[in-house]
Amino acid sequence: MFRNSYDNDSITYSPTGRLFQVEYALEAIKQGSASVGLVSKTHAVLVALKRNAEELGSYQKKIIRIDNHLGIALAGLAPDARVLSNFMRQQAMSSKMIYNRPIPVSRVASEIGDKAQKNTQVYGKRPYGVGLLVAGYDETGPHLFEFLPSGTVLEYFGAAIGARSQSARTYLERSFESFADCSAEELVLHGLRALRDTLAQDKELTIQNTSIGVVGLDSPFKLYDNEEVGEWLEKLGDVGSSRGRRQAEEAAAEAAAASAAAEAADTDAPTTDAPAADDEAAADLPAEPIETDD
């Protein structure tokens, strides 16, 4: 992204038909830590990686319950997510009062989409700086919608937003065909595996940094945090980043090969496990993203 003369406000197009302020808002989402969502025939699941600004500080809440049948996961400017979640709660409550039924997921998603769009067409306002994954269960089954500051709202089988979310998306693309018939438990584990792939080097999923939300037929939206996440992480097994796992596997393989060679050759055994791993690490390691509220 380059500074140019068409990015000063939301109501100016560029010569190529782009709204740069909206695109910059999308950048804010990429600075937040990852959130992942996926659906089966019976459930919708959200998993998110919480971040803390300091070691002694609390972790930013990433999943918010909107109603008994609805929840959202956020990435980006958390205060904007709070404002939008309050709005969604108001809409859900008033819709339930007026029509005596829980608000359809598509309805509430398009309501925030329209709300966000306004801020892309008014002078003096800025677009919302947060992306949301809206997961819910209504009359037509489980749904997952991705909301973006542009006002675009699209439905997905599986989605991921935030830092390094492409790795999660890759996992989802590879395994989504099996989602439809998954049980709630299997779906959560898929989500956790996708989330695990977004971890930075040497980081792992812990009960403090992982948040899970599940909703489905006969099961109202339930948020798992802290201790309750422990049992899920145990079922998952390996909580480390897949990058770390790959390197460890390669290192182990190299060490095994090297020691085998040493036994055979019976000379001073040069263990060559370190260099290859480090190179890969250096190439892989992205600059740590600028810390936002999220």
Binding site: N86, R89, M93, M97
Partner: protein
């Protein structure tokens, strides 16, 4: 507590003076409610008959509502607002929304005592055009004991051991004073007044059923079905019993 008003049936008498007709915003829909607090339970019972004047609108219109109150089954609160049912429904719906916002903003369930105070503010907020209802709220307090609060139409409230509200309240309350709180009952041997003790749930349920079958006999607006909601640490249980339909 407040005068009941029945709309005048149309007649063809000749008036001696001009009659002014005006829209009257309230109606009485009958029904009676009863709440009792126990050592480890609270119950709210009510008949399900819905009337206007001498006519029955429907025999089954449950009027006891549960506020789920995120937190745990023992945190549930049961509410009934008896009198003018449109006002009762509106009040309970608004209360349910306020309770939900409370849980979002405070990240904890609404306690019964806080709910009671909230109901007062909601009722007094319409001091100039009141909700025409007698409200009762019941649940378990922080230590697990049963808790009952009752309100007048404009929000005056008090915590009580038991309270009857609605059409047959005047028939039920004295019965409760005698049977639940052992008033005017003396120990045969010592001549001392009997002391009220916590009644077990089965005893209380018998009292409630007997109370309602009695008022069904004597009050035209009470009958059809009895609904009882019981709050314990396991959550809310609901039971229905038939009452005489005449």
């Amino acid at each position: 507590m407040y005068a009941e008003h029945f709309s005048e049936p149309a007649t063809s008498h000749v008036a001696s003076a001009p009659i002014e007709h005006q829209f009257y915003p309230y109606a009485s829909n009958g029904g009676t409610i009863l709440a009792i607090a126990g050592a480890d339970y609270a119950l709210l019972a009510g008949d399900t008959r819905h009337i206007t004047g001498y006519s029955i609108n429907t025999r089954f219109r449950p009027s006891i509502h549960t506020l789920e109150n995120l937190g745990g089954p023992e945190r549930a609160i049961v509410v009934a607002a008896n009198g003018f049912s449109a006002d009762g429904d509106a009040l309970v719906r608004r209360l349910a929304q306020r309770a939900e916002w409370y849980t979002y903003n405070h990240n904890k369930p609404l306690s019964v005592s806080a709910c009671a105070r909230l109901v007062q503010t909601m009722l007094y907020g319409k001091r100039t055009f009141p909700y025409y209802v007698h409200t009762i709220v019941a649940g378990l307090d922080e230590s697990g004991r049963g808790e009952v609060y009752s309100f007048d139409p404009v929000g005056s409230y008090e915590r009580e051991q038991c309270r009857a509200g609605g059409s047959a309240a005047s028939l039920l309350m004295p019965f409760l004073d005698n049977q639940v709180n052992k008033k005017n009952q003396y120990d045969a041997a010592t001549g001392l007044p009997q002391v009220a003790t916590d009644l077990p749930l089965e005893e209380t349920l018998k009292l409630v059923k007997d109370a309602f079958s009695s008022v069904t006999e004597r009050h035209i607006h009470v009958g059809d079905y009895l609904e009882i909601k019981i709050v314990t640490k396991e959550g809310v249980k609901v039971e229905y019993f038939p009452l005489k339909r005449d």
